[in-house]
């Protein structure tokens, strides 16, 4: 009860203080020409700060929507580029399937980064057309491979997984090898089995080779670094990945529609 009285008294004092100061400022504004300009300037600055602040807050909270819209647009434009490439400059409308690959836009729902066997969960499943062993990519590189699918979600093995290997090549037409996570750094990988006779230049870009039936060719993955000779016959080359796995949010699922045919042929050959 006593506390309430104290709070009320403080409230009344503050109200009287603000009222009297505002009255004084209004009088000052109307009676002193210099003070009038000074106070107007101050009031305008205050309004600008308040409106600017409110606008910043509003923009901040709409960032997610804007990001989603941009990701959608980015996906559409990427599809258009792929279509142009495929059709040699004669696009025939935008489709989700370009050449042998079908592309589906998705959001990463969960990404693990601190384990030895990292994974990714995306918000697209079998009902959205995602199939097992589809690739998960972004414009910065390979994210992982779909391992299990639900109706509306899919679970994928992240590239940052000790048993995941991607077929990659140095440059668009250079030698191909196996790219795998180095198991230590967040953006480090090792490109293995590059023949010893190849002349290497640190800083070369590494692309997907397209030799696997999962990832399309020519997705930039990273740049080469130091090389070490292994068993006197091949190089192991350090690669710094472009992909920042800690900020993966919007991804594209890529599915090779001819994968079954390729697998069938491989099985026939093995038999």
């Amino acid at each position: 009860m006593k506390d309430r009285g104290v709070i009320l008294r403080i409230g009344i004092n503050a109200a009287v203080f603000i009222l009297l100061e505002v009255a004084a400022l209004v009088m000052l504004q109307h009676n002193g020409p210099l003070q009038g300009i000074w106070i107007s300037r101050g009031v305008h600055s205050f309004y600008a700060a308040v409106w600017g602040g409110a606008d910043n807050v509003k923009s901040y909270f709409s960032l997610r929507k804007q990001n989603e819209a941009l990701a959608e647009e980015n996906f559409r434009l990427s599809q258009l580029v792929r279509t142009y490439r495929e059709e040699l400059g004669r696009p025939a409308g935008i489709s989700d399937t370009i050449g042998p690959y079908r592309y589906i836009m998705a959001n990463a729902v969960k990404v693990s980064n601190n384990k030895h066997h990292n994974y990714i969960v995306i918000d697209k499943g079998s009902e959205d057309g995602v199939a097992e062993l589809s690739g998960i990519i972004t414009s910065s590189g390979v994210v992982g491979i779909v391992d299990a699918i639900g109706k509306h979600y899919s679970y994928g093995r992240s590239f940052r997984n000790s048993d995941m290997v991607v077929s990659a090549r140095i440059g668009r037409e250079g030698p191909a090898g196996e790219l795998m996570w180095d198991g230590m750094s967040s953006n480090g990988a090792v490109l293995r089995e590059i023949p010893h006779h190849i002349r290497l230049h640190p800083g070369d870009t590494v692309y997907t080779s397209g030799f696997s039936a999962i990832f399309p060719p020519d997705i930039p993955l990273g740049v080469t670094g130091e090389a070490t000779v292994v068993n006197g016959s091949t190089y192991n080359i350090d690669v710094t990945l472009f992909m920042d796995f800690s900020s993966v949010r919007y991804v594209t699922v890529v599915d090779n529609v001819d994968r079954d045919v390729i697998s069938g042929l491989e099985e026939q050959d093995e038999n």
Partner: protein, 170 residues
């Protein structure tokens, strides 16, 4: 009853004195003499903060009106002094004074504490007054010198007024 009437009369006379200082004593551009802060400081402690602010606003407005100054300038500077008066008294002389409504005095509370109270009130008043008077057109150093010089002179003329208005002088 008689004491209250005397107090009121002294306060009115001091407001008149402040008006006369503003109207007829020109001490140069670096000096602004004001006894309003010390008057507010010495108003009875029984008056609640809201009442104190209203009284000081009326005094400030009267000085502005009758001293051909800019209407609202003294009021703008003196109301914050009234707002912090009880806090200053509590901080320097203890809460007992405010709760009992006892007045303070140099003899009871010491010269240093009363001086600090005067300096705080004068500093708050002068800072707001000088900044609002300059309206952003004067350099910072000019304002600083004006506040410093006026603070020293204001403190000196405040001491006899404190003596006159507080319990020692009566």
């Amino acid at each position: 009853m008689k004491t209250n009437r005397n107090n009121a009369l002294i306060y009115i006379l001091l407001v008149v004195a402040q008006i006369l200082i503003c109207n007829f004593i020109n001490l140069g551009q670096y000096l602004m003499l004001s006894i309003l802060p010390v008057m507010v400081l010495c108003l009875p402690l029984t008056i609640p903060a809201a009442g104190l602010m209203l009284i000081s606003a009326v005094c400030g407005l009267a000085v502005d009106w009758l001293a051909e100054g800019i209407l609202g300038l003294n009021m703008l500077a003196i109301v914050p002094v009234a707002f912090i008066r009880n806090m200053v008294v509590n901080l320097l002389f203890g809460k007992d004074h405010t709760e009992r409504g006892d007045g303070f005095s140099i003899r009871k509370n010491g010269f240093v504490r009363v001086s600090v109270a005067i300096l705080i009130c004068q500093a708050v008043f002068l800072t707001i007054y000088v900044i609002a008077d300059g309206a952003g057109t004067r350099p910072f150093l000019f304002n600083l010198i004006e506040v410093g010089v006026s603070l020293v002179c204001g403190y000196i003329i405040s001491l006899p007024i404190v003596n006159m208005l507080t319990s020692d002088g009566k």
